[in-house]
Amino acid sequence: MTATLAAARLGARLGLTSAGRLRSLALALAVAIAELLMLTTASACRALLLQGMDPADDRRLALACATAIAIPCAVLVMTVARLSASMRDRRLAGLRLVGLTPTQTRVCAAAETGGAAVAGTTLGCAAFWLLRPLLAGIQLAGLDWRLHFAPYAVDSALAVIAPPVLAVASAVLPQRSRPDEALASARRADRTPPRPWRLGPLLVGTILCACVRSGKPRPLFGDPDDALPWMFAGIALLGVGILLIVPVFVRLFAALLVRLTHGPAVRLAARRLQAQPAGVARIVAVLMLGLFMATGARYVVVAWEDQNYYRYAEDQLHHRQLVSFSTTLAKADAAEARARSLPGVRAVVALPQLHSRSGYAAIVASCSDLARIEVSVGTCHDGDAYVLDPWSTLPKRWPVGHGAHRRTIATPVEASPPSNGATVGTGLLGPLDQVSLVLPPSLVGALPPSTEVHVAVTAAPGRHLASELAAVGLSVDDGYDFTTYDFVQRLKLLVWTIAGVILAVGLLAFGITAVDRTVQRRKQTTALRLVGVDAGTLRRAQWVEAGVPLAAGTVLSVGLGALAGATYLAYGEPDTALPWGATWMLAAVAVLGSALVGAATVIASSPRIRPQEIRAE
């Protein structure tokens, strides 16, 4: 018992030595970040569950979000807990040689890590409760969660306990059981290279997705029902492939660098990459998988954005509100006057509606009427009738943007009932919905007072025109429900938030590991400087080693996520425009983040001459 206590005391002291202090500080910060993120996520999930509309969907969404945040947090904590692992393993093996039992050695390792982990937990929890009012004040697309922004007790306990337990487990479990194993010098450069089969899943997944997207070969992928299992298989293989490919990818990348360039800096970087420890590959794999999923999720959200209701809502919120209500010609004037009295109303236009026996609907409107409700019919001539072709408002590659819905195309027709071949469909124009003809007033002449009239009302952008009309007794026919729009907006925000967290936490974990490796390499760096290798060469080597493959990996994962998302959209929504803007932005942010992490490690590598390092072994 006394020996175990002594081992624990020794572990605590090791965590406070000059080199140990930095590691302990890094671990405490990593645990604190993980605590803060997990408690925030748990609180947001609870608010979502208590305020959401569909409990089953919300539960799935909350679980997906919590998992997406928890995985990078776990990787961060476990990575930082294993900083300078080989040096610590050697040290613990030395303690075994002195006579400590395996249990006592583990106690020592646990005490060294546990202290910092507990400090980090305390810091993270305190930060969360201090920041909670600020976080709760953030309103996400109509969701006000001030009342419920606190985690459930069980989630809270899990979020508090998991990071320090993971940290201690990471520090204790990989410990080599035999001292001779741990004391053996690490021959990193001679590790067995990863097998080429790791490329297989990614290649097969890419081919499958490309085939589903192109619909070829037709017997397999042409029919949507047949293509569905292939699509899911392709996307799943892409995800698995990303996890497997990193070591091969890094080696291939390094081999390419060696082949293409002969400069000492790039060669040094490439060789170091080839000898990179597996832990780094795991971090990059998780980072790439996270970006892949976030990019793919962004594409899935596009499927919602491409729906008419979403475009309606976008148009209402950003361009102008347009609704209509029904009345009769006799009551139209009074109703128009009531509508005009509302603040923000721009135009009120009465559009008599006629129905043919064969079921066609026509409105009676002049060119100026159409212009007042902002319906464009090109070169409109009073006296002409027009066939409305609502589908032509949904061209392929429709650019999502404000005001695009006004481009209704109408073509003049002879002043006679249309043939059965006239186009009828659901349009985007509220009062013109289900209308196939626009007839000029001169053609119709005087109408009886009982004629059905649709009164179109336009107002400044917003979401309350329908309720304001209802408040004055005018019940609209085509009021818009913003619930689904808000849900999609929340999804978009969630995707960006999760992508941001994954990117930030992943880059942080990578950065900390890279900095630790450069610190471990200081002696080697000093030796090279003493030989006369200039600081610039060493800095370039460090930057290439840390930044370039990370940037390439993140861009690759964003690209693969885009492929997966595009495949999904090609299956379900073949005409949907792909969110290239968002894709490029995510890739650009990932590249910028990678470059910054590379630069941070260059600073940390500090290729200054330290003669004392040469004698220290």
Partner: protein, 224 residues
């Protein structure tokens, strides 16, 4: 005759500790000198001062008639790269590079083309007897082979002087002999001056002169 490397009134301090004081030393081209002395006497500090690595509190270091200690760090690095070779106790080769790539590194930094650098590196590795493991990394060769590769790295660019700090300190007797044999043979072949810090009289026996450092001062300079 102008000395190849000369120290005049050197004084080096680390905080309150005086590591070297009143050191005067002149090394001629092609000379072979052992620096001996007890632990902590200042042997390594002397080599580091001669190489322009540590800042001087007083005194001057002259390399081939030019003042070394007043140059900027970048120019001192360049001077070391071009005119000096360094060998350390633990070799300190880059573990991720193969032996031949380690030897190529200073040559390439000097601007030699990769193919030429490789030819020269292989040639020197043959001279020190480790050509057969030239494409292996440090982890896959013995300590003696790695140290001979370090000797090759120090001499590949034909420097005017090689400074070796305990080059055999981590080796067994046989490996020590092989390393010293390679070091002295190559330096003689190339006309390179050699300064070796050592505790070992058997190592010093390979050299022509001995300088004994004690308490930061040269106590005696005698022929070996």
């Amino acid at each position: 005759m102008t000395a190849l490397l000369e120290a005049r009134g050197l004084r080096v301090e680390y905080g309150a500790t005086v590591a070297l004081d009143a050191i005067d030393l002149a090394l001629a081209a092609g000379s072979r000198t052992a620096v001996m002395g007890p632990s902590g006497s200042g042997k390594s500090s002397l080599v580091h001062a001669l190489a322009g690595i540590v800042p001087l509190s007083a005194g001057e270091v002259w390399l081939e008639g030019g003042r070394l200690d007043t140059l900027s760090e970048a120019r001192r690095s360049r001077a070391r790269l071009a005119r000096m070779g360094m060998v350390f106790q633990f070799g300190d080769l880059v573990p991720e590079l193969t032996l031949v790539e380690n030897v190529m590194l200073p040559l390439q930094v000097l601007g030699t083309r990769a193919a030429t650098a490789r030819r020269r590196a292989v040639e020197v590795l043959e001279q020190v007897g480790v050509a057969e493991v030239a494409d292996r990394r440090i982890g896959a060769v013995s300590g003696g082979q790695a140290q001979r590769a370090a000797v090759a790295r120090a001499l590949a660019h034909r420097p005017a002087i090689v400074l070796a700090d305990e080059p055999t300190g981590a080796l067994d007797t046989v490996s020590s002999e092989q390393v010293m044999d390679a070091l002295t043979r190559l330096s003689v072949d190339q006309g390179t001056a050699l300064v070796v810090v050592t505790h070992d009289h058997r190592v010093a026996a390979h050299l022509d002169d001995v300088v004994v450092v004690r308490d930061g001062r040269i106590s005696v300079g005698i022929p070996a």
